[in-house]
Symmetry: C2
């Protein structure tokens, strides 16, 4: 089969890590008889530099027409002074909206080989944990109206944002979460703030309605403040966490940090038709950009998610994940995950080792 | 001096822990020549049981007329089926609004004697940490309009909440944060989501304007998702964290859990005139209610905050804090903070030991 992939290398370490991931896809193609065609496009800071805006219509069109999108990372201090409407991050938000990527899957899994890097004590972690944060990505206060008004109490200029969720949006993300749970440990924890927010009350009512469609799944509700605590207290209690865009932003980052190896974590953002955008959860790390020392694993594992979720290529996805596992188990490390005194590999050395395992 | 304190013992373990704290205040009064007059009022679940609503006008009036309010904890599964408008939590939100308690101080401090209980690895914690979360408490999406509407995209019923901050509200909480920092390690980290929210952009602009009034304070901005990570990665980097109501709810709970001893943490909520409501940050713990085993220390330390912040009684506050410190250093523990095999004290035994130290 032929797959067309739009590639947004982006800023900072983006180009280095994406290049390694593309070579991994080539290798998978060779081995399994697929061909992956890459079309590179600009988005984020590099697009601001070239076109004055972080996301052009051309980039959007190419991403829409591709079978999926591979993204490195966007942004960096270089564009800190750019007015907020033109910041590199707008490229992410714009692509999510343009492609309708309403579901964002962020696995937070502790790799056994990297247990030492976990910031939480081993007595709490036990045998490790494997959380899938299923974050809604095209709604909530992110995509409600953002505006300024005069305070009606005479308190001056007021920034305002419309937080909201409709029944349809909650059903759509909720079903995805239950479907994911059916393939995993059959537990869904829905996180909201229903004791305060109407948005959350619609969220919770809707979840309670659809949970009956999945009688095998153990369902619980949790308040977002409690969830922020429970992730630290006992991460192993979670299987799938489903939540809105804003809470998902915060909790998925917290969960990633709890794994201790943020350079390892991939993500998938998908729409109804299965098309997706795949990217590492870490940022563009401008401090180490261009040095060839960044860890390409999160991007490579994002490719595995692409193969699995957008292309339905399960064996191919498994092959990448196993290759990464083997390389880690053999003790190979990039700088970010190396213990003191351990030998440190470059970005391309790590990529090469993973390809050799394939 | 004479001080009138309205006392909301509340639900679950509330009555047990508040009783111990009242005895501690009595002892402080004896020693330093003050008299604390307590007037007990109902709020939360017990008020629902008696009056059908969680917060009566009478309770509000008494709290308003008192010099400050001491609160145990409200809520519990008994009231889970109560319609959302009448839930026990509404008592908290109602009291915050009625008394104008716009600043919520939540110290998250690791007690050296309890370092073993900290879920984070000792290499990360080092010499411990001492964070003061300064959360805005009467604004944000908590107190904007909450309502339902039809989706304009045909997506069905929609829950909506108005998130907003005015310049005045941000200045007010911001200055409090800087003032607290001046008495501590002179660092303020302001947390927002200015890359997405207009509310946060007004927040950040205002903070940047007032920070120049405090040139000695080192000021930084941080996105809320990053802060949720940094609290796990390196909590010692923080001194004062100032943030809005919603982010403060999440981050202060996360920070508390990172101390590992949530039964120890007090909080203060204050208005412009210095009147305050003081309460432990832990909940009503219905599973252990009535057994006399709850840890009263968070409530006792909340009284110390009351003496310091509402009454300006610094020596008296210090005396309570030192008494608690001494009791902990001598190895005394309630069940929640005892290591395996350690002798476990009852609520009243712990209260008595602390009073003996005074
Ligand atoms: C850059 C920012 C707008 C974005 C978000 O908040 O969604 C990022 O934090 C993420 O999680 O992908
Ligand atoms: C009970 C709830 C409404 C409350 C809040 O969210 O403010 C609580 O979580 C708190 O932090 O005091």
């Amino acid at each position: 089969m032929n797959y067309n992939i739009a590639v947004v290398k982006g800023d900072g370490i983006g180009p280095e890590i994406v290049s390694e991931a593309m070579l991994v896809l080539d290798k998978v193609g060779e081995k399994f008889g697929h061909s992956f065609n890459f079309q590179e496009v600009l988005a984020g800071g590099c697009s601001i530099d070239k076109n004055g805006i972080p996301l052009t219509e051309e980039t959007i069109e190419i991403c829409k027409n591709a079978d999926s999108v591979l993204l490195g990372a966007v942004g960096g201090p270089k564009w800190d002074e750019v007015p907020s409407e033109k910041r590199p991050e707008k490229a992410l938000l714009g692509l999510r909206a343009a492609l309708g990527l309403f579901v964002n899957l962020r696995p937070a899994q502790m790799h056994k080989a990297l247990a030492d890097a976990c910031p939480i004590k081993p007595e709490i972690i036990g045998d490790g944990f494997d959380i899938l944060v299923c974050r809604e990505l095209t709604g909530d206060v992110y995509f409600g109206k953002h505006y300024r008004r005069e305070s009606d109490k005479g308190w001056g200029e007021t920034g305002a944002d419309d937080m909201n969720y409709s029944v349809y949006e909650v059903e759509r993300i909720g079903r995805r979460a239950f479907e994911m749970a059916m393939k995993r440990s059959k537990k869904v924890c829905s996180v909201d703030k229903a004791n305060v927010l109407e948005t959350s009350r619609v969220w919770r009512e809707t979840m309670h309605r659809i949970k009956d469609e999945y009688p095998e799944v153990e369902y619980t509700d949790m308040y977002v403040d409690n969830c922020a605590m429970q992730l630290v207290r006992n991460p192993s209690q979670f299987d799938v966490i489903v939540t809105g865009n804003l809470f998902g932003d915060i909790l998925s980052d917290e969960a990633s940090m709890i794994t201790g190896s943020i350079g390892m974590l991939p993500s998938a953002s998908m729409n109804e038709s299965g098309k997706g955008m795949y990217e590492p959860i870490h940022g563009s790390a401008p401090d180490i950009a261009g040095k060839g020392i960044a860890n390409p694993i999160a991007t490579i594992l994002s490719c595995a998610m692409m193969l699995r979720y957008s292309f339905g290529l399960k064996a191919e996805a498994d092959a990448i994940e196993t290759a990464v596992e083997n390389v880690l188990n053999a003790g190979h490390r990039t700088a970010d995950i190396a213990a003191k005194g351990e030998k440190v590999l470059s970005t391309s050395e790590m990529g090469t080792l993973i390809r050799e395992q394939l």
